[in-house]
């Protein structure tokens, strides 16, 4: 099958879109495999290949991510770029590929961006303080199944950054809320619940992510379908942190 890929190339402070006609693709290929094919061609003809992040190629590591026709991870719902297959495109389509566009995610090269701000948000409080060896027996605290399921649903976040790229405000609130919800609904996460919300949001803001205005683009772009209700939970915890629980 044929596609024309228009890809953002950048090695310094600025970049541009470059067009690559491809006529040797198969509908069974993943989108990243199409980039592999292109890169093989570029290398053989003495050009520099397109740099893009990827690793597991099964949609779980969160390393890959790019805007495909203006949509984070492309047109398929709940699908990362590595799991997007060419059968979802039409023969002859022109496909525009760009890096995540958000100030806190500076472009490193081509489609590769720096997402270290996400690690800083987690470091600010996205954990339960339990040094190795200090845990009680796993059955000491039963967890109601619905709570465990809610926690799991939020914990499925892969930290890819699609939510930020999709958000008109460049907000990372879905990412932050997913972690706050995961830990905040579990009994083990209660002691640090409010300080966690406060500290993660403070780091989120300090990193330059925009505020949330509930447009919901994030959740619709999220490859793991993290629900918007996580943000409501985070806001509730945040409100409480800043009003009644300012000591924590």
């Amino acid at each position: 099958m044929k596609l024309t890929l228009r890809i953002w190339r950048q090695s310094g402070a600025t970049g541009r879109l470059v067009e690559y006609p491809m006529d040797d693709l198969s509908p069974d290929m993943s989108f990243l495999e199409a980039l592999d094919v292109l890169n093989e061609r570029l290398i053989t003809s003495g050009q520099e290949p397109v740099a893009f992040d990827h690793d597991c190629r099964e949609g779980i590591c969160g390393m890959c991510g790019m805007m495909i026709n203006g949509m984070a991870h492309g047109p398929e719902k709940a699908t990362t770029a590595c799991q997007l297959h060419l059968r979802h495109f039409r023969d002859g389509d022109v496909v525009t590929v760009e890096p995540w566009r958000a100030e806190p995610f500076p472009v490193v090269r081509d489609l590769v961006v720096d997402r270290s701000a996400f690690d800083r948000i987690v470091a600010a409080g996205g954990y339960i303080s339990v040094p190795t060896g200090s845990a009680p027996d796993a059955h000491a605290t039963p967890v109601p199944k619905p709570d465990a399921d809610t926690a799991f649903e939020a914990a499925a976040c892969i930290g890819c950054g699609a939510c930020v790229a999709a958000c008109p405000n460049g907000s990372a609130m879905l990412f932050t809320a997913a972690k706050a919800t995961h830990l905040g609904v579990l009994p083990q996460g209660q002691p640090e619940r409010y300080s966690r919300a406060r500290d993660m949001v403070a780091e989120h803001d300090a990193s330059g992510f925009g505020g949330c205005t509930n447009t919901g683009e994030c959740t619709s772009a999220c490859p793991k379908g993290i629900p918007l209700t996580t943000i409501a939970r985070l806001n509730a915890d945040l409100l409480r942190a800043h009003t009644t629980r300012s000591d924590r």
């Binding site: 590591c61 190795t132 796993a138 465990a148």
Partner: protein, 637 residues
């Protein structure tokens, strides 16, 4: 035979006494470092998967100065994240007859009697603490309606001891370790270096004292020093090019350590996982695993007639062969991976695959219950193949998944280089010739949270060692070797891509050193690998420079090391003229085609010493002693 034999390994530093108390004894005999002095002792941890992430976090909690490294852009992305099915622990919450001894027994037997009893017993003991730790961290394991943890059974076991978080157990466990690590980073006790790849080990005065790394963004090559170095860099399955490993998984860290003197144990022990999605074409860049937990409820079958071209749903019961249930009635679809994989290979081929059918499970449990257990796996399958497994049986085929071999370590997980520790999949320690499902997560976390932190003090008690810096002649030499290699790879400027070499090497390894091996094939591979390696160094084309992000350069360095490892794997496979676990030599099989072990001649760990590229390695044997589990023919029928 292209190797020589050296002195056997006499001391594994296993404590004496009853096996149940050995770990206690070792922890008691190991010297401690006073809490106030720990901040003057430093440790480098390479890799941030379950083993490396948990080790770095725990060592920092203890008060050591830790530097952590990973090639990914964040420590949260290590390939442990892709583990699906679960983690074993001898909790016996089900009251179904499980115990530490049974998990120990199952693991030694599952490994086909090629692992060290003492290490495996410790693993089984620690398994229960891991679950406690992870639950306290907030890992959202699956739960029953009463709020207690749910478990399921896995291949090679008749008890239900596998804890899981839907089909994303590795992800959830890794996020637990990652969060603990981030907490230590925030506390200033771990210095984190993402997008940084270890390219060599620095050994000064017989001790591992540091590493040479390349900053993958700037291209800068630099050194880092510490009192001890821990490698937690995973397995080497990507030597086969196509595997279920992440694209970046590589052997460079352990191979470079091997070249610096660490023995490499049982390199030919590789695991082929039975339930992966078949290859769809030449463009294939990796293979995707479907968790073996699917075999709990899915039934594996092939058409009785291999030429049957009907769609699977059109093939009536009478024309189906549920071959695992037929051949192994006691374990049925839950036989260990090596057995399931070989059975699938013998009955079908790469293109046709075999069916994994959920129709019975859906009829028995309802689609909702099946979705709760395997929903994300089904979605993944549908995304890749375009088929809906709720309606059509999945097509599966075996693929390279895990490597049991790795750097040789003693009971303390220390390699043959003092100060160099190896944990997780990177070592050879606990799985013998075949790993049981849900045991990789258990081992990675046991090593990182408990074993290493429990014994490394014994070594660090002698630290801090004399400071070394870049002006030390050994360091300068190691640096210039690394820089020279990078320069050479860029300078060849040939006409073949790294990918084309990797593909060719992988095909060769899959054909000759894959699921089934024989002498002729291995000798052929041993002839071909050096030729292909020479060609690589003459014809490879790596564009760009070394002074910037250059993903082709990264790949070239990794493939160059795979070429050297591949040869050692074939030497090991050739010398081990028996079948055991994942290593099936066609010359050594029973009349009905099962693996035929040769305990009289091969009941040892083969630990190889490096002598130079293309030069015969030296074999050091660690004899295996079985005092608690009597080696028997593994039978699952």
């Amino acid at each position: 035979m292209p190797y020589t034999e050296g002195a056997p390994i006499a001391d594994q530093r296993v404590p004496a006494g009853p096996i149940e108390t050995r770990w206690d004894r070792r922890r008691f005999s190991a010297r401690l470092v006073n809490p106030a002095n720990r901040r003057n002792r430093s440790v480098i941890v390479v890799g941030t998967g379950l083993a490396g992430g948990s080790a770095a976090a725990t060592l920092a909690e203890l008060g050591y100065q830790v530097k952590s490294f990973c090639y990914q852009d964040s420590p949260r992305r290590a390939h442990s994240i892709a583990a699906q099915g679960g983690i074993n622990a001898a909790k016996n919450y089900r009251n179904d007859g499980d115990s530490v001894h049974r998990l120990f027994y199952d693991t030694v037997k599952g490994g086909d009697f090629r692992s060290r009893e003492s290490n495996v017993h410790r693993l089984a003991q620690i398994s229960v603490e891991i679950i406690d730790q992870c639950v306290a961290q907030g890992v959202p394991f699956a739960r029953e309606y009463g709020g207690l943890l749910d478990t399921r059974s896995f291949g090679g076991a008749q008890v239900s001891r596998t804890f899981y978080a839907r089909g994303q157990t590795g992800q959830q466990l890794l996020l637990g370790a990652y969060q603990a690590l981030e907490r230590q980073i925030a506390a200033g006790r771990v210095e984190m270096h993402p997008r940084t790849e270890m390219l060599d080990l620095i050994v000064v005065d017989g001790r591992a004292r540091g590493i040479v790394v390349r900053d993958l963004v700037s291209g800068a090559v630099s050194t880092h020093f510490a009192d001890a170095v821990v490698l937690a860099t995973g397995g080497y399955g990507n030597v086969f090019h196509l595997s279920t490993n992440a694209k970046g998984c590589n052997t460079t860290a352990i191979w470079r350590a091997h070249r610096r003197g660490a023995l490499f144990a049982n390199p030919c022990f590789t695991q082929i996982h039975p339930t992966c999605i078949p290859i769809s074409g030449d463009h294939q860049s990796k293979l995707t695993l479907m968790s073996e937990s699917l075999r709990n409820d899915g039934r594996v079958w092939v058409p009785r007639d291999p030429h049957d071209t009907r769609a699977p749903n059109d093939i009536p019961e009478a024309d189906r062969d549920y071959f695992l249930e037929r051949m192994y009635p006691a374990f049925g679809n839950l036989v260990p991976r090596d057995i399931a994989s070989r059975a699938a290979k013998n009955i079908s081929d790469e293109k046709r695959g075999v069916y994994l059918d959920f129709a019975d499970a859906i009829a028995r449990l309802g689609a909702l219950a099946v979705e709760q257990r395997y929903g994300n796996l089904f979605e993944m399958y549908q995304r890749i193949t375009g088929d809906d497994p709720y309606k059509t049986p999945m097509r599966i085929y075996p693929a390279v998944h895990y490597t049991m071999g790795g750097l040789w370590v003693d009971y303390d997980l220390r390699s043959t280089i003092p100060g160099l520790y190896v944990i997780g999949e990177a070592n050879f320690s606990d799985h013998g010739a075949n790993r049981l499902g849900a045991s990789a997560l258990m081992q990675g976390l046991a090593d990182g949270y408990f074993v290493l932190p429990g014994v490394i003090g014994d070594y660090l008690a002698d630290a801090p060692f004399d400071a070394v810096d870049d002006s030390h002649p050994v360091v300068a030499d190691t640096m210039s070797e690394v820089r020279g290699r990078v320069k050479t790879l860029l300078a060849v400027n040939g006409d073949r891509t790294v990918e084309s070499f990797h593909r060719e090497l992988g095909r060769l390894m899959w054909d000759e050193c894959g699921m089934e091996r024989d002498e002729a094939g291995l000798r052929k591979a041993l002839e071909r690998i050096p030729e292909l390696r020479d060609e690589f160094w003459q014809r490879v084309k790596v564009p760009g420079t070394g002074e910037a992000l250059n993903q082709e350069l990264e790949k070239a360095g990794r493939v160059a090391d795979f070429f050297e490892l591949a040869e050692l794997m074939c030497v090991d496979a050739l010398h081990r003229a028996e079948s055991c676990g994942g290593h099936f030599r066609s010359e050594s099989q029973t009349p009905d085609g099962e693996a035929l072990r040769d305990d009289a001649n091969f009941s040892y760990v083969a630990a190889w010493e490096y002598t130079g590229v293309g030069r015969p390695p030296v074999l050091h044997k660690e004899e295996l002693v079985f005092e608690h589990v009597t080696p028997s023919t593994r039978s699952y029928s």
